[in-house]
Symmetry: C2
Subunit: 139 residues, 2 copies
């Protein structure tokens, strides 16, 4: 099995709210937008972020976990500097992220904070000083 | 905010079981392996798949959802042909995936099945005949 991921799909309760947040708030441009069904954004060289209607997802995958608590997954958006992290967190806050955790220095040597999307999925915004990881994930 | 994802992180209960599945079973090569803490695999041009000890994740992110049901996220691995999908599903089954759902024709015109990793995270293995999406996600 090749070592690659093609899609990350998040099951969402209200695609209209999701579109407002990612497209209108964060400024991402949809690749595919089928109202009430699915919204897809290119999120890397060979990667799509897909937001899929929760009911449709359950019909195919089976019953999904629901609260309380945060979904056991995070998505990270890495930046080259702590200032860049703060800027993205400010963008997410202005976009209406229901939860924003300000950037802090981490024990592993980096700086990161979190925001959530309308369904509570956690995005980490991080600056990782490890030059090896930086060389992999930064543009 | 740039339109990109740097990491996808899954919170896992037993990193040793996770390592056996991804490294020994699927044959992926770790980029970083800190026993009991985190396991990272390169999963794209600028993408890392991180498997993070659940307790450490909760300490940083907050209480996580737990069962019953499947985590509301899927990861897809796209292949160029239905035969390729079947081959990856067979690899996952041989690797000890606790759940494998055989490939089937989908209403959207493609062919896909699912497997789960030791924590129940669902991987879709898919062949999508849409030439636009194929051009984005396939090598």
């Amino acid at each position: 099995m090749d070592q690659r991921i093609s899609f990350i799909t998040l099951a969402v309760a209200d695609l209209d709210a999701t579109r407002r947040f990612y497209r209108d708030g964060l400024g991402w441009k949809p690749e595919i937008d089928v109202p009430g069904e699915v919204l897809m954004f290119r999120a890397g060289e060979r990667l799509i972020l897909s937001l899929w209607d929760r009911t449709a997802c359950e019909a195919e995958v089976g019953p999904l976990m629901s609260g309380p608590g945060v979904a056991p997954v995070t998505i990270a958006h890495n930046m080259a500097t702590p200032e860049g992290v703060d800027e993205v967190l400010a963008t997410a806050k202005a976009a209406g992220a229901p939860h924003v955790q300000a950037g802090v220095q981490r024990d592993w040597g980096g700086y990161s904070g979190y925001f959530s999307d309308p369904d509570g999925f956690r995005w980490e915004v991080a600056c990782n000083p490890d030059p090896g990881l930086g060389a992999i994930v930064l543009p």
